[in-house]
């Protein structure tokens, strides 16, 4: 991955925030208009409004940072500090092992009670492993 400046990274985050807001609005409209999703509206509206407002808050925070060079430097220092990167990596490794182990144990226990839950947890475990390795790959390239 090409090394980019913090300012460029901040710009990228702003675009991603806008993208997430647009996606949230589009999906929300789709869910509201499609009657097949009526039973899922409470769940989807919560998740999508959460995505929208979180993106909006991050957008304002990133824009505020972008306008203030001193604050931007402080934030850059916090993100590029080698001890912080070390702590992030260790936390991520611990999280990876714990989530995989919990899902695996839960899957084995659930097998005694329900085959449906067993396969659901097995699917979750596979998805979790794929995401963990994908994000790890991204983090390794970023720092």
């Amino acid at each position: 991955m090409k090394k980019i400046s913090f300012e460029q990274r901040l710009n990228l985050r702003l675009y991603m925030n806008i993208g997430c807001m647009i996606v949230a609005i589009i999906l929300f409209t789709f869910v509201l208009l499609n009657k097949e999703f009526a039973y899922l509206i409470p769940m989807y509206s919560g998740a999508l409004s959460g995505l929208f407002f979180a993106s909006l808050a991050l957008f304002f925070r990133n824009r505020k940072l972008r306008k203030n060079p001193n604050k931007m430097k402080e934030k850059e220092l916090l993100e590029t500090d080698e001890r912080n990167i070390f702590i992030t990596r260790v936390s991520y490794t611990i999280f990876s092992y714990v989530s995989i182990e919990i899902l695996f144990i839960a899957m084995l226990i659930s097998g005694f009670f329900s085959i449906t839950i067993f396969y659901t947890l097995l699917t979750l475990l596979c998805v979790d492993i794929v995401f963990i390795f994908f994000i790890r790959h991204m983090v390794e390239k970023m720092y």
């Binding site: 220092l77 916090l78 590029t80 500090d81 080698e82 001890r83 912080n84 070390f86």
Partner: protein, 68 residues
């Protein structure tokens, strides 16, 4: 790892914040280095030693029995 950062800093009348700014890390990293909770990377060790115009081994006291 034991370091002489606190001693050198006091000798040069520097605050942790000033040293942190000069070598491009946070104040918390300097604190952790001083109390031996964190081992600096080679790049950071070089920057700190260079800042005090000393060799790395004069700032960072390597113990043979220390775990890596």
């Amino acid at each position: 790892m034991k370091t002489r950062i606190a001693e050198l800093r006091r000798h040069n009348k520097l605050s942790q914040e000033e040293l942190a700014k000069a070598v491009g890390v946070t104040r918390q990293t300097i604190t952790s280095l001083e109390v031996g909770k964190y081992t600096a990377s080679l790049v950071l060790a070089y920057k700190i030693a260079q800042y005090f115009s000393l060799a790395i081994e004069d700032v960072f006291l390597f113990d043979e029995e220390e775990k890596i």
